[in-house]
């Protein structure tokens, strides 16, 4: 065919017309993002990675109903086509041959298969019999709809606030830090700051292994000729240290002193940002006894409080040289610098977690390194939806969706109205936080352990709770305690569970999550789950419906209708609680659209579901523009980007604790840790992750390339300590605390290098339960336990 200009123009016009027509046909909310089928017969679609809180997007390749390939998503702003080794192998997580495929009930010592119908019945009956002593333990891996349905089921349905997530163990201190500083949760900055900062400070975290794609986003700038100063403030040498210009090794807990030392220098040298502080900040200190929001203090009182923290004094507490403290003070004191602070578990898993979070925000505010691109205090999360589900949907014992709390009358009323519930349905009393919930579950009823039935979804507390001998193990021996676990593989938690439910995971179901930078992401189901595995959302929905049928009053709204009624396109009701009808409509979309109405109250506005289908996520607040498009926000509270900041204000903390648009600069003193090494237990123990494995290793230990690269947990120790004890490299030893023991091999000069007197053990290995050893002491406000420091000793097996 000869193509002249005229024919070409005609063809072009036709193509445009066809595509315009297809746009009409699809309607405004497309049912699916377009699958692309390549020449190999592989169909590609987008999904965020299943693992950490970075929120990389992957392209998932599916052929003959199986995931066969993964690619980094070039269109995703977070990762720009790059992934880490876990992300590249995320597709393999679906295909371990020991996937749970059928519901199983414990009878005697064995688990026997039962039907879904029976499983749902058992749960509904347990709840009917004792509704107030039922607890739901979820996770930051709950998708937004999964968390939302559990939240509404518990607080709106059962009028029971005993719902808490594993994220309590992970970022609760970040939440209390944000709330007590800005009056509202979640970071002001985003990952965009990593493209703009010239100084990045890692406070006790190791992003080279834990958030590798973000780390690359930062250090790859060096390959492009940019100069970035990376400062690693840590308690052991890691792969991050290898890329850092400065390694400041501090004694566990003394990060509090370091932050105060910086504040002291800013004030003493007069290098704090006077105009920023005068315009946008108030000062705050502790009350006695302490409260989350403390009390106002004057600038003079603040100055006096930090005056003590001279570089020499800080050196004495922290072991970081006075010169290095001065270096930090000078860097913060120079307004030309663009400083981003990153932190994760080091600051959060801390008995003074709220305090250290406040202090790091404080030095950014004091120095004015805030609200400009590259100047941001940014906390990272470890789970794909710790932010999206736990923090935003509020699946915490004290919270309601959209930044509300159960203790507030107006918040309860607003939630009841949005849920169309009768007034007074929601209980005003916060439920048990994680540590307390498990303590109550592991204590006999006659001794005050009132939690009788626990439903665990998407997490593995039998391995990840601290001090397992106290919080988990006893429950498995008590007769009247019933443990229900929804999971995808056998775990330390399913091992002795009373009822096991097989779940669908990742692209075996629809989902939405929210990453560390306020980015809400969406994906569609691409493959069928194995055997009888089913969505967690469906599981909760089915139990709710069974309770409705049994006549539980909480499962009805104020008009007597089922609280989770789904509708088809014509508005007719759909029996979504029947599995065969579950995917007749998009349950995720309907739950999300309902949830979305909660989000405007704290200016965490979300866009309609369809907008997330089109994009690789959007960072809230997402606000509709006059042209009908939806705009995301990179820099919160800053006039140049945040649509909710009034014109001319510059910076406006519009949810300020003090109701005057100002953030709070806190003073919190250095406080000694609850347990320190002594003559009997002479070592510090720190626990954490490694690059290859994600959390308890349930998925990654079943992925060949990851397992073979990191087959087993170990204890890192300093060579001199080993020599002193006569311990050889590779020798099996016993790590022992006042709470329990753990047997494992020593790896000297291995992946990380702890200083003398310090040990490190990764927690991914269910054969090596280091949480028998860790401490359950926790932060007074966030209730987050400290997995990073307790006192232990090492015993050779032969002695």
């Amino acid at each position: 065919m000869k193509v002249d200009r005229r024919t070409f123009a005609k063809l072009g016009a036709m193509t445009i017309a066809v595509s315009a027509a297809s746009r009409l046909a699809f309607g405004k909310t497309p049912e699916r993002s377009p699958d692309r089928t390549g020449p190999d017969g592989i169909t590609w679609n987008k999904a965020p990675c299943r693992f950490c809180g970075t929120g990389c997007h992957v392209q998932v390749g599916v052929k003959n109903g199986q995931v066969v390939s993964i690619a980094g998503d070039e269109k995703a702003e977070v990762n720009k086509g790059l992934l880490c080794v876990k992300g590249y192998h995320v597709g393999l997580a679906l295909y371990g041959r020991d996937r749970l495929k059928t519901p199983m009930l414990k009878q005697g010592d064995k688990h026997v298969p039962i039907t879904w119908d029976k499983a749902i019945d058992i749960i509904a009956q347990r709840i009917m019999n004792d509704p107030t002593n039922f607890a739901f333990y979820g996770s930051g891996q709950w998708t937004i709809p999964e968390g939302y349905i559990a939240q509404k089921f518990m607080k709106g349905g059962l009028a029971n606030n005993h719902i808490d997530p594993n994220a309590r163990l992970c970022m609760a201190s970040a939440v209390t830090g944000f709330i007590s500083t800005y009056g509202v949760d979640e970071p002001a900055g985003t990952f965009t700051d990593l493209d703009k900062a010239n100084i990045v400070i890692c406070w006790g975290n190791n992003p080279a292994e834990m958030h590798p794609v973000l780390f690359s986003r930062l250090i790859d700038r060096r390959s492009r000729g940019e100069k970035i100063t990376l400062i690693d403030i840590g308690t052991r040498r890691t792969r991050t240290t290898d890329h850092a210009q400065h390694y400041l090794e501090f004694k566990p807990q003394s990060d509090l002193a370091i932050a105060n030392g910086i504040a002291h220098l800013l004030i003493k040298n007069g290098t704090y940002d006077k105009s920023f502080v005068e315009k946008y900040c108030n000062f705050r200190g502790d009350t006695d006894p302490g409260t989350l929001n403390g009390q106002a203090i004057t600038f003079d009182a603040y100055k006096k409080a930090v005056a003590e923290y001279t570089p020499e004094f800080v050196e004495k507490i922290s072991g970081v040289s006075a010169a290095d403290i001065r270096m930090l003070g000078d860097l913060f004191g120079d307004p030309k610098n663009k400083i981003t602070s990153l932190w994760c578990m080091g600051m959060n898993q801390h008995t003074q977690g709220t305090a250290i979070n406040r202090l790091v925000h404080g030095i950014h505010l004091l120095s004015g390194h805030f609200g400009k691109p590259g100047d941001a205090p940014t906390s990272l999360t470890g789970q794909p939806s710790a932010c999206g589900t736990v923090r935003e949907v509020g699946t915490l014992a004290h919270a309601l969706p959209g930044g509300r709390v159960v203790a507030n009358d107006e918040h309860r009323k607003a939630s009841e109205d949005l849920w169309k519930l009768p007034a007074g349905r929601i209980s005003a009393k916060p439920g048990y936080h994680t540590v307390l919930m498990w303590e109550k579950f592991s204590t006999a009823k006659d001794k005050g352990g009132d939690i009788s039935t626990m439903w665990v979804q998407v997490t593995n507390p039998g391995q990840t709770l601290p001090n397992l001998n106290k919080l988990f193990a006893p429950s498995r021996k008590l007769k009247d305690k019933f443990l229900i676990v929804s999971d995808v593989y056998p775990t330390a938690t399913t091992k002795d569970a009373d009822l096991i439910l097989p779940s669908a995971m990742w692209v075996e179901k629809n989902g939405m999550v929210g990453n560390s930078e306020r980015r809400t992401q969406q994906w569609f189901k691409m493959v069928e789950p194995p055997g009888q595995a089913r969505d967690d959302t469906w599981q909760t929905l089915a139990v709710a419906r069974r309770l409705f049928e049994l006549g539980h009053p909480g499962m009805k709204d104020k008009d007597g209708k089922f609280i989770f009624g789904m509708k088809d396109a014509k508005g007719a009701p759909v029996e979504s609680w029947k599995w065969e009808k579950y995917y007749d409509v998009n349950v995720d979309e309907q739950l999300f659209e309902e949830y979305r109405t909660f989000t405007t109250y704290k200016h965490k506005n979300l866009a309609p579901y369809g907008e997330y289908v089109k994009t690789r996520g959007l960072r809230w607040p997402v606000v509709e523009q006059p042209d009908g498009s939806w705009r995301e926000t990179e820099f919160r509270f800053a006039e140049h980007d945040d649509p909710f900041v009034e014109k001319g204000k510059g910076i406006q903390f519009y949810h300020s604790v003090t109701k005057d648009d100002r953030a709070l600069i806190w003073f919190n003193p250095y406080v000694a840790p609850p347990e320190s090494p002594d003559a009997e237990y002479p070592f510090w123990l720190c626990t954490g992750r490694v690059l290859e494995h994600w959390h308890s290793g349930t998925m990654t230990m079943r992925i060949g390339p990851l397992r073979r690269a990191m087959p087993q947990a170990y204890v890192e120790m300093h060579r001199e300590d080993a020599t002193k004890l006569g311990v050889r490299d590779g020798e099996q030893v016993i790590v022992e605390s006042r709470r329990g023991t753990c047997e494992l091999p020593v790896w000297i000069d291995g992946r990380g290098k702890p200083p003398k007197g310090s040990l490190f053990v990764p927690f991914f290995d269910e054969r090596i339960m280091i949480n028998n050893v860790t401490l359950d002491a926790h932060d007074p406000y966030s209730k987050q336990p400290d997995y990073k420091k307790c006192a232990v000793r090492i015993r050779r097996k032969s002695t």
Partner: protein, 255 residues
């Protein structure tokens, strides 16, 4: 000409010296990674440093003593899971099939980052680039050149194929490693419009910006180009839009 050194000799001498230095750097790295890792399991005694093995020289010292040979050289490389260096290029179907199988052995699927077939330095990435920064073949061992230079955190994507640890994994059956994932591996050949037309690139070019990494002299024989002297690959070999992730016309027009 009154100078006794001919500029060509000087040039040749220099290039020999440079090759020797690069080679020694390569060797030094693997000697460094050997040390404690003699086989699996820990030795009964605290490992002692073998006096026969020379300490690793600083670069300055190597310059002074370029003939310093390392007795561990041969044994070190025997441990590497490399293929024998072969002559030939991609026109040989036998070599091509061999190269394909070799690629599959190190990847979960086409496009997955290859695992590392040798011990690594646990805490650093500088060592990676000593060999992989430019690419090298020494004896039978190839070190392919990095195909995506701007990425600086090598161990983020590439992990050891087999972990070398001073201990052996205990009770591996407790967490079964039995995965039924079947990764897609492409058959290989690029399309040609007619018999002697240059083939299209049959794979995505994301992370594969440097063609020479696989198709150059340090690539496997079965992937090597017949015409390494031509440097501008994409002049003749087109990138197929089928493997391209950028928004297609349809996708953009629908949304």
């Amino acid at each position: 000409m009154n100078s006794s050194i001919d500029p060509n000799t000087l040039k040749r001498g220099l290039s020999v010296a440079v090759t020797v230095i690069a080679g020694l750097a390569f060797v030094g790295f693997f000697v460094g990674t050997q040390g404690d890792y003699e086989g699996q399991g820990y030795s009964a005694e605290t490992p002692i440093i073998n006096p026969d093995v020379p300490t690793i020289l600083s670069y300055r010292d190597r310059m002074k003593n370029p003939q310093h040979q390392n007795p561990q050289f041969a044994t070190g490389f025997a441990d590497l899971a490399g293929v024998q260096d072969q002559q030939g290029d991609a026109t040989d179907p036998v070599l091509r099939e061999e190269a394909r199988l070799h690629r599959i052995s190190g990847r979960a699927y086409e496009g997955a980052p290859p695992t590392i077939p040798h011990p690594i330095d646990q805490d650093g990435v500088v060592a990676c680039l000593v060999c992989h920064g430019v690419g090298a073949t020494i004896a039978a061992v190839r070190a392919p050149k990095i195909s995506h230079e701007t990425y600086a955190n090598c161990t983020q994507c590439h992990v050891e194929r087999v972990a070398i640890r001073p201990f052996i994994e205990k009770n591996p059956e407790a967490i079964p490693l039995d995965n039924s994932f079947e990764g897609f591996h492409r058959l290989g050949n690029g399309d040609r419009v007619w018999n002697n037309a240059p083939p299209q690139i049959p794979h995505t070019t994301l992370m594969r910006e440097d063609c020479a990494s696989c198709h150059g002299q340090f690539g496997q024989a079965g992937l090597r180009t017949t015409h390494p002297e031509r440097q501008n690959c994409s002049q003749c070999h087109g990138v197929s839009a089928d493997f391209d992730q950028r928004p297609s016309f349809m996708e953009q027009s629908v949304f």
